[in-house]
Amino acid sequence: MSTPSLGALDDGRPGPVAVRAVVVANRPAGAYHHLVLAVDDRTAAARPGQFAAVAVGADPDQPTPTLLRRAFSLHRATPAGPDGPTLELVVAPRGTGSTWVTRRRPGDRLDLVAPLGRPFPAPPPSTPVVLVGGGYGSAPLGWWARELRAAGHAVTVVAGAADASRLFGVDDARALADRVLVTTDDGSAGTRGRVTAVLPELLTPGTWVYACGPMAMLRAVTEVSAAHGARAWCAVEESMACGVGVCMTCVLPVRWDDGVTRMTRTCVEGPTLDGAALRWDAIGAGPGGGSAVPADCLGAPRPGGGPR
């Protein structure tokens, strides 16, 4: 892993605050809901790539019966907009919790902890950048594109999804990036196929790629990037119990700079991780469909050996 090891302790980036947000707007956006939340200054100091953890399923004045929060990438943080400091989320109704979030009405309060995780790492000056989003994974990319362009990078956005209704932020991206490509599995918008169908033509050696989307997409983007000498950063989505680095549920096997693979917390060392450092050989290969522990991982069970 090419980033410093103790993400939970990074200085110089906005740290989490527990805040009672108020829903300013909740608009359907294709298959998703786009929420605008009024927050405070500290929360709105968030950076692209960070996420929020939302308490779900209860009145915000009551202890929540759903113990664990739900994580959502920040679509955008606006420290001083017409509604005061705001955060925006793009939420796909999936199970109970995310569906609950998509049903909030303006005026409802939402209990959230934000910003969490590391921001996207900044590319070296004048590196060309490609941002790849799968489905709601495109949510943070417009914001990041704007910042990258302001910093002088050439920015291309690739937005892919199963179908047109599951694309997000394409219009936004058109306004904020130099170039935008769209792919859909069913061809209902843009090029028919996966994001990797259009990616190779965009990559030159040294390009930095940022990818947000399902694990299979992240893996494919990493492989295609490597094949073209580009560097891929993957924003992963692991099940998280705490979001702040204390519980060890959200781990993935990652090879660190010292060459050692560790089961690494994606909530604080991530969510954006170096694609080349992710142990794709173990990810998805675990007994329950999650990550196996690679045999060479720090502290891995020794085959046949000693009490574990």
């Binding site: 939970a8 113990l67 099940s239 705490c242 204390v246 007994p287 469909g289 999650g290 522990v293 502290g299």
Partner: protein
């Protein structure tokens, strides 16, 4: 009502409430601690709350060697609770002593170090090394982690295994710091296990660890956790924790067990929840899973617990410990 009349809540000033407590000689500024495995070694929480203001930080269980923990998925949400099968992931004792303990010392945190081993010798080695380290306030002996491949290694499920570990630890520690034995609720008779570890020299008890559970992923038609079973924690298990603390404290009052401090753990999310454990007999309380919901929970519970107990008329935290037993005994006095 007669039980309340001795404590007219109007007569006490919450600000004058004395929250201090002590666990087997370790003085704590307040009775609310983090629970092992739910606060790492304090550093991450330190970004969010003042760890020195907590009753104590109880560290994630430390083992001799670095340990990867289990494959993922490692957690499953359940009604008012969760299962975890972390599998004691950690860097090992050397890294702990090199990095985590110095940080805790610098932060001014009262620290209780949780340890586990594959056999009594490993437990003893760890405890022996830790007992000599400045900044280690007490040792919690985790004989009850359900996330070990061999269930036989849940020492707390068998009185003689539990006793063997605790004897080895107390001998290695030699009284330098208090030793707390952490018990599992997954036993037929928790009083018998408590008796075994107290006889083996434990200075106090931490109860409870998680209870063994399983979630089936219906879509995949297999257990959701990679490790199959996991430990159930959170508010769902609070009634079990209160019952265990009650039973063991009652046995102490009845003279069946030697009196010893009990640290109550299980499902605490509010000051009232903590008060249940305290009134049942706990002289300190740990907050685990609720920290995941809100990292500020341990600090908030401390404040709220003081308010609840002061509101009930207690001037000192210590007076509330086990008070429900006193109330019950009064009820059944013949001349009531």
């Amino acid at each position: 009502m007669s039980t309340l009349s001795t404590f007219g809540s109007a007569t006490f000033d919450p600000a004058a409430f004395d929250p201090g407590t002590s666990v087997a000689g370790l003085a704590l500024a307040n009775p609310v601690l983090t629970a092992s495995g739910c606060a790492a070694a304090g550093r991450e929480l330190g970004r969010l709350i003042d760890v020195a203001a907590l009753g104590a930080v109880v560290t994630k269980t430390i083992m001799r060697d670095a340990r990867s923990g289990r494959p993922t998925p490692r957690m499953a949400e359940t009604p008012s609770g969760m299962l975890n099968s972390i599998g004691l992931q950690g860097p090992g004792i050397d890294a702990f002593l090199a990095t985590d303990l110095p940080w805790l010392r610098r932060a001014g945190a009262t620290t209780i170090v949780s340890v586990a081993g594959g056999d009594p010798e490993e437990f003893a080695e760890l405890a022996g090394r830790l007992a000599g380290e400045p900044g280690v306030g007490a040792i919690e002996v985790n004989i009850s982690c359900p996330n070990v491949a061999n269930r036989g290694l849940v020492f707390a499920c068998d009185p003689s295994s539990a006793s063997a570990v605790v004897s080895a630890v107390t001998e290695a520690v030699g009284g330098r710091v208090p030793v707390l034995a952490k018990l599992s609720p997954d036993v037929t008779d928790i009083v018998a296990i408590a008796g075994a570890v107290l006889d083996a020299g434990a200075d106090g008890l931490s109860m409870i660890n998680t209870t063994l559970g399983m979630v089936i992923d219906v879509t995949r038609m297999r257990p959701l956790l990679a490790g199959l079973t996991g430990g159930l924690s959170g508010p769902a298990i609070r009634p079990i924790a209160v019952r265990c603390v009650w039973q063991v404290h009652a046995a102490m009052r009845a003279g069946i067990l030697r009196p010893a401090p009990i640290v109550g753990i299980g499902g605490v999310a509010t000051g009232r929840d903590a008060a249940e454990l305290v009134l049942a007999g706990a002289c300190a309380v740990q907050v685990g899973t609720a920290t995941f919901h809100d990292p500020g929970t341990p600090a908030r519970v401390a404040t709220d617990l003081a308010a609840v107990l002061a509101g009930l008329g207690f001037a000192r935290f210590a007076d509330a410990v086990g008070h429900a037993h006193t109330v019950l005994a009064r009820e059944t006095e013949p001349n009531r």
